[in-house]
């Protein structure tokens, strides 16, 4: 296999597979796009770990934008922080679990599990691929936590350590519990079926009376763990519902379980009959199976992230001309902090000195840095681009402008105004109907035959126990969740689907959600650009990772770049280069010494000058996502549409032209305004869907019935929400909405199907004709057919909506 060899004109990096745009770094007969990638390769080849590159071609991630600051992990020297991070420690070993979002292929697993070959102080490491976590066991006398983290980041796998990780211990026992219960129920169900078979085929009599009794008593014995352990969740849930004077799906289930169990005990011990223990075991087994199926989680994603997840764990504080790295929790108002290139500003602070150029992309979705002057207030959440700056803290991190949102009462409510799930509403009616039928049947037989009356009463409860009914919801929703996940739409849990189906109003955030920074509109004004100047521009912008440079680079297209001398980037200002003894500048008005700078209302201006003479300028605006107008048109027929924007209103005309007319635009919206706007819609009785991306949408996402966070990289930053949508699937929002509606219809249809079974069963039960055999057949048959129906129907609808593709090529 020679798939990793470079073949195209632009050589590909051996480590990360990206085009070597900035020249090739050759090493060991291989090409690398940057020094970072080469370094990773060097470390690996020295340690004889090059199998990393054999398992998958170009498994790495580019190291271009990696922060190379030596002291960024200094906070890991603080024993208090270390203690909060590690899972376990004894005299020799420490165990720690890291979250590494970059884990993406088999090579990653292999490398991370071979860490011990690089450093012998690491005992072992184990990757959980789906959760994107790695547990490292190391000898803390030989290697410190900081060294482990540094090692990981030299390999390109920098763990993400956040404030919210502190003090949080891993919890995975919840899922295990349900699985254990399923195991117990399955064990008991299988054996009970085995012991009941002779009875059904009248073999027990052939074997003799002793056997029959034994089988029945064994069944009672086996049913005990099922009734008292495996089914316990249902009792708790039903009890909680009854306490609140409500009836949920679990109430009729619990009624059925009790009827099953008590009546079977009566039959076995007093009447000498077989009882229904095997059907009871089957019922609980199937119910738990549905529960496990629905428990699909996207465990590598975090839906409940609050502002803490955005902030660094530690900051550099300056005190008496000494720098010290302190945990963020110890930061106080008035402290002077040092924020370096690519570091996040943790609290609202005043700029003391240095050139601040703040990228607010977490906050607003707009990634172009904003320059700030000395003395200006800088809000928390921005990221410094450029040289280090000094700041005085004005407010503590938990009370800054942005985090103020989290103090809003919307965030206090633990469970947002959940809509009553469909199943719960039906089960209320259902339970009362069944009880009425049971009582009527009892009184009908009461005068004639008491034993038949008791039998009719209990068997009605047994057969009506909504096994099929309560399985249709988890299986439909579980499958819907899976189909959404395949289309890169990840829901927090299954209940979001039902809310999604009822949405009638869609609210979009503009910046970063409807508009795509990568899809910029660039207009050039000034002297026409010759091919030569274009190639000079190309050479300039290729040297910079600044978003504006990238956009101009994109706009220039694929032309060859001129060879320039002395190209240098002045962070936050622009680029300077020499070509044929002339000085070319590309950058802000300040860089080209413009006298009267007119800053545009929207977007950014980038000036281009030769030897101090202005040639022209680029006007760069972020454009709409290419799919946005079409998607808005699709939605406008059925949904009320609202667009909220933090920008000024002069874009309204151009936006209106490109989007539908009946869209409500609202500009100049602060984060709090957005929250209030959604709240207003909710009080008008609308069911709202909020689509946003930045932290400034966090309040609105929380307030809406369903909040979808749009992100370019799902494992990266996104505010707390009900669902996370990969930006590449953004145009499918109408499909997602209509698929959610179909799955609601499917639930209704499968309810209909299970009602049919109930009618058959009930008509036998009221006549006192229901036998254990019939019950043992009817129960699994109805459950399995309902499960088959819902699974097939959701898959079919998924295909129809274009969310599943038959050929996965």
């Amino acid at each position: 296999m020679s798939q990793s060899k470079p073949s195209t004109l632009l050589s590909k990096c051996y480590h990360c597979g990206e085009d070597c745009q900035e020249g090739v770094v050759a090493f060991d007969d291989k090409n690398f796009c940057c020094q970072g990638c080469r370094l990773v390769y060097e470390v690996l080849s020295q340690n004889d770990l090059c199998e990393y590159y054999a398992l998958e071609p170009t498994p790495g991630k580019t190291q271009k934008n990696q922060s190379r600051l030596k002291n960024r992990f200094d906070y890991l020297d603080d024993p208090e922080v270390v203690n909060q991070l590690i899972d376990f420690r004894n005299e020799q070993e420490s165990h720690i679990t890291f979250h590494i979002p970059l884990i993406h292929c088999a090579s990653c697993i292999w490398l991370l599990e071979n860490l011990f070959q690089i450093n012998s102080a690491i005992v072992s490491s184990r990757v959980d691929f789906l959760k994107k976590k790695v547990q490292v066991k190391f000898l803390h006398q030989k290697i410190s936590l900081k060294e482990v983290v540094t090692l990981l980041s030299t390999l390109g796998y920098e763990p993400r350590i956040h404030l919210s990780d502190l003090g949080q211990k891993p919890k995975n026992s919840v899922d295990r519990k349900t699985l254990t219960k399923l195991g117990v129920a399955g064990f008991a169900f299988g054996n009970m079926m085995l012991f009941s078979m002779p009875e059904y085929f009248s073999e027990a009599k052939l074997l003799g009376e002793g056997f029959k009794g034994l089988f029945d008593y064994l069944n009672v014995l086996l049913s005990l763990p099922v009734v008292f352990y495996a089914a316990s969740d249902y009792y708790i849930s039903a009890w909680n519902a009854v306490k609140q004077r409500k009836i949920n799906m679990d109430v009729p289930i619990v009624l059925g379980i009790f009827a099953f169990f008590l009546y079977s005990l009566w039959e076995i011990f007093l009447q000498g009959n077989a009882g229904y223990m095997d059907s009871l075991g089957g019922l609980i087994f199937f119910l738990l199976l549905g529960k496990v199926y629905q428990q699909k989680t996207f465990s590598s994603l975090e839906f409940d992230r609050d502002y803490k997840a955005y902030f660094p764990i530690a900051v550099t504080r300056q005190r008496q001309n000494r720098e010290e790295v302190i945990p963020l929790s110890k930061l106080e108002v008035g402290d002077v902090i040092l924020v370096r290139d690519e570091e996040l500003i943790p609290a609202d602070a005043l700029l003391l000195s240095g050139q601040a150029s703040i990228d607010y992309s977490f906050v607003t979705g707009e990634e172009i840095p904003v320059p700030k002057q000395k003395g200006e207030l800088i809000y928390a959440g921005g990221r410094q681009k450029g040289d280090a700056i000094l700041l005085t803290v004005q407010k503590s991190p938990s009370q800054s402008y942005l985090t103020d949102l989290w103090n809003n009462e919307t965030f206090e409510k633990p469970n947002k105004k959940l809509l009553e799930p469909l199943a719960n509403r039906i089960s209320g009616v259902f339970t009362w109907t069944v009880l009425t039928i049971a009582v009527l049947a009892f009184f009908y037989w009461f005068g004639k035959d008491l034993s038949i009356a008791v039998k009719a009463f209990t068997t009605v409860l047994i057969v009506a126990c909504p096994c099929a009914l309560s399985m249709s919801t988890p299986f439909t929703l579980g499958n819907t969740l899976r189909i959404f996940g395949k289309s890169k739409f990840y829901l927090k849990n299954a209940s979001v689907i039902e809310r999604l189906a009822l949405v009638d109003t869609v609210v979009f955030d503009k910046t970063g959600t409807l508009t795509d920074p990568a899809n910029a509109q660039i207009t050039y004004s000034g002297e026409p650009l010759s091919e030569e100047s274009k190639s000079i521009l190309k050479a300039l912008v290729e040297r910079s990772t600044h978003p504006l440079s990238n956009r101009i680079n994109h706009w220039l297209g694929s032309i060859s770049s001129a060879s320039l001398k002395n190209v240098r980037e002045i962070k936050g200002k622009g680029l300077i280069g020499e070509y044929q003894f002339q000085e070319f500048k590309l950058g802000s008005g300040e860089l080209v010494q413009m006298e009267n700078q007119d800053t545009p209302e929207v977007g950014n201006l980038v000036y281009f000058s030769v030897e101090g003479v202005l040639i022209g300028y680029f006007h760069i605006q972020s454009g709409l996502r290419s799919s946005a107008p079409e998607m808005v048109r699709d939605l406008s027929g059925n949904y009320g549409l609202h667009i909220l924007s933090g920008d000024h209103c002069h874009e309204q005309a151009s936006l209106k032209k490109r989007l539908e007319k009946d869209v409500n635009f609202n500009f100049n919206q602060s984060p709090k305004d957005k929250l209030d706007y959604v709240h207003q819609l909710n009080t008008e009785g609308k069911t709202t869907l909020m689509v946003g991306d930045g932290l400034n949408d966090a309040g609105a996402l929380q307030e809406s019935q369903v909040g979808i966070a749009v992100t370019d990289q799902v494992s990266h930053f996104s505010p707390a929400s009900d669902a996370i949508l990969d930006a590449s699937s953004f145009s499918r929002i109408p499909n997602f909405l209509s698929f959610a509606q179909s799955s609601r219809t499917i639930i209704k249809l499968s309810f209909g199907l299970s009602f049919l079974y109930n009618i058959v069963g009930l008509s036998l039960a009221v006549q006192g004709l229901l036998s254990p055999v019939l019950c043992a057949i009817l129960m699994p048959a109805s459950s399995i057919s309902v499960v088959l129906f819902t699974t097939l129907a959701t898959n079919l609808m998924g295909m129809k909506k274009g969310l599943i593709h038959l050929n996965k090529s």
């Binding site: 054999a54 959980d128 789906l130 899922d175 699985l179 254990t180 064990f187 056997f211 064994l218």
Partner: protein, 62 residues
């Protein structure tokens, strides 16, 4: 036919053994991660190397 009593006992003991094995596997975390082991099993077992200063180029995996 009394042998059936013995057989029932044996079958129950077997079934309970499997249930206990299931509990043990659950406790050891066998069901926590259903994906990574499927990748891990395909890795070559490398003989543990003693010297790492071999100036060897990338092994050919062609």
């Amino acid at each position: 036919m009394e042998v059936i009593f013995v057989l029932i006992g044996v079958s129950l003991i077997l079934a309970v053994t499997f249930l206990i094995l299931f509990f043990k596997a659950m406790k050891d975390g066998q069901f926590d991660d259903g994906y990574t082991p499927s990748v891990r099993i395909l890795f070559e077992n490398q003989p543990k190397k003693s010297i790492k200063s071999q100036p060897k180029k990338t092994k050919s995996y062609e």
